[in-house]
């Protein structure tokens, strides 16, 4: 992925420099990961609130160290 063959006179040295398609690809993947994080957070919140209201543990299995007890 190197955009340069030599450091002599090199200016843009980042991966994908000179290839808009490659840089757009990097950005799209990174942005999709951010959107995925937000979606995962919404699901986690919904699940956690429902479990708490039902007096059930938020996560299955024995409580890990430091995890709060069931409400």
């Amino acid at each position: 992925m190197s955009p340069i063959d030599s450091w002599d006179g090199a200016t843009a040295v980042f991966t994908g420099a000179g290839s808009t398609a490659l840089q757009v690809l990097f950005v799209l993947i990174a942005f999709a990961m951010l959107v995925g994080f937000l979606a995962k957070m919404v699901l986690h919140e919904r699940h956690a609130y429902a479990q708490m209201i039902a007096h059930e543990p938020v996560e299955a299995g024995p409580a890990v160290e430091g995890e709060p007890s069931v409400y």
Binding site: A10, T11, A12, V13, F14, T15, G16, A17, T20, Q23, V24, F26, V27, A30, F31, L34, L38, M41, V42, H44, E45, A48, Y49, Q51, M52, I53, V58, E59, V64, G66, E67, P68, S69, V70, Y71
Partner: protein, 431 residues
């Protein structure tokens, strides 16, 4: 290497180093906000408050790379002129300036502005404590930190911004684009979010005390440290001297006078008007610096002290005024940031009246400053109100009442803040 090449290389190195230090110091603002909000929360919500601050930092910085920085270069003339698509193309996330180069220091300027963005997004954080969904907050803080404030900065904190070129606007320390926009945006969100359960009973305000006021005070002291990085980043460093963003010559010495006298005046003013109440007294330091921010490159230090003392003395009254409308602003963000920024900008219009701007740009006037303050307040309030209203209608803004009563740490955060004392479920967590 010619002497000219050597000088150019040294300028790039010192510019990099100057803003690198500014960025590092600004991280202290976020450590401060975290401690401040953790202390202001009840013990059942402390870890959720801390996580919200941590995630704000991460999400705003990432989104500021994806689209925030582009707005700064695209919007200075808009709506009087067009959006500068071609000039801003290099600052799209796949643009030629948005990665490591040997011939550009754009990254360090992006970094400093990313920290300004995260700071702006975090200002709202404390106001909405203990009842907002973290996911909704992250959507709102992204809008505030990576879209709204940076459009305000393009208008009001840019050498070609229309508020400078048309109205002679002057705001050295970003009172308008950071503090006023954040305060107005927060007010719009609070109107839709509503108060915490138990905050108002039969229309009367009930105080919900913070679980750790000393931690809140320590957090504000850390924000004071971070302010030196923030204000350092407000200076344009060149190899021929320092300039404000508006192009006038200044020095860090000028800013040292105003920052310290602003801190001192704000604390004293708030102490007197709150009758020594610790929360308002230490918030007075913040209020003082924000009050003097528009003219801190020009005020005489004693005048800065006077402006800051009045600003600090206003905040307990502004806080009570907001409370009368049934608005629950947990940390006084609307009051301290929005209220004191508006006051500071209006006062600067009269105190700085007649100062010229550089080249043929119009000079500073009361109408230019007041008009600019109104524009920035509207720019902050409208998107904050509308987007939070949309989230409210979709049932995505506020946590369920059962969760609010039991505490967020019990459901959302898989850890106990104080396991050796009372657990979040009400019983000793460790026997």
């Amino acid at each position: 290497m010619t002497p000219e090449d050597t000088l150019a290389a040294m300028e790039a190195v010192i510019t990099d180093l100057f803003y690198w230090v500014s960025i590092a110091l600004m991280v202290a603002i976020h450590a401060g906000f975290l401690a401040y909000e953790v202390g202001a929360s009840r013990s059942k919500n402390v870890l959720a408050a801390a996580m919200k601050n941590l995630l704000t930092f991460a999400v705003v910085i990432a989104t500021f790379f994806f689209f925030g920085w582009w707005f700064y270069y695209a919007f200075p003339a808009f709506p009087f002129g067009g959006i500068d698509f071609s000039g801003a193309a290099a600052y799209l996330p796949w643009g030629e300036e948005m990665g490591p180069r040997t011939d550009s220091v754009n990254g360090i300027f992006w970094g400093a502005f990313a920290l300004f963005a995260a700071t702006t997004g975090s200002i709202m954080s404390g106001a909405v404590l203990e009842r907002i969904r973290t996911s909704a907050f992250l959507v709102l803080t992204t809008l505030l930190g990576s879209v709204v404030w940076i459009i305000g900065a393009a208008w009001a904190w840019h050498g070609n911004g229309w508020m400078l070129t048309e109205w002679g606007w002057h705001d050295f320390g970003a009172a308008g684009c950071v503090h006023l926009i954040a305060g107005a945006f927060t007010l719009g969100v609070l109107l839709n979010l509503g108060p915490r359960i138990g905050r108002f009973v039969d229309g009367k305000a009930v105080t919900i005390p913070p679980h750790n006021l000393p931690l809140t005070m320590l957090g504000l002291m850390m924000i004071f440290i971070g302010f030196f990085g923030f204000l350092m980043g407000c200076v344009v460093y060149t190899n021929t001297g320092y300039f404000s963003i508006f192009g006038n010559a200044t020095t860090l010495s000028a800013i040292a006078f105003s920052t310290l006298m602003g801190l001192a005046g704000g604390i004293i003013g708030a102490y007197v008007s709150s009758k020594g109440e610790p929360f308002w007294t230490i918030s007075g330091g913040l209020a003082g610096v924000i009050s003097v921010a528009p003219g801190m490159d020009l005020y005489h230090p004693a005048l800065a002290f006077v402006v800051a003392t009045v600003g600090g003395s206003l905040i307990p009254y502004l806080g009570r005024l907001i409370e009368r409308f049934g608005i629950d602003d947990v940390v006084g963000a609307v009051t301290v940031h929005g209220g004191c920024a508006f006051y500071g900008i209006v006062v600067s219009g009269f105190l700085l009246w007649g100062y010229p701007n550089v080249a043929d740009l119009p000079g500073i006037t009361p109408m230019g400053q007041i008009g600019g303050a109104v524009v920035l307040a509207v720019l902050g309030f409208v998107p904050g109100y509308l987007v939070s209203l949309g989230l409210k209608k979709a049932g995505m803004l506020r946590i369920p009442p059962e969760v609010e009563l039991a505490g967020l740490d019990l459901s959302e955060v898989p850890a106990e803040a104080y396991p050796e004392s009372i657990g979040t479920a009400g019983q000793p967590a460790i026997l």
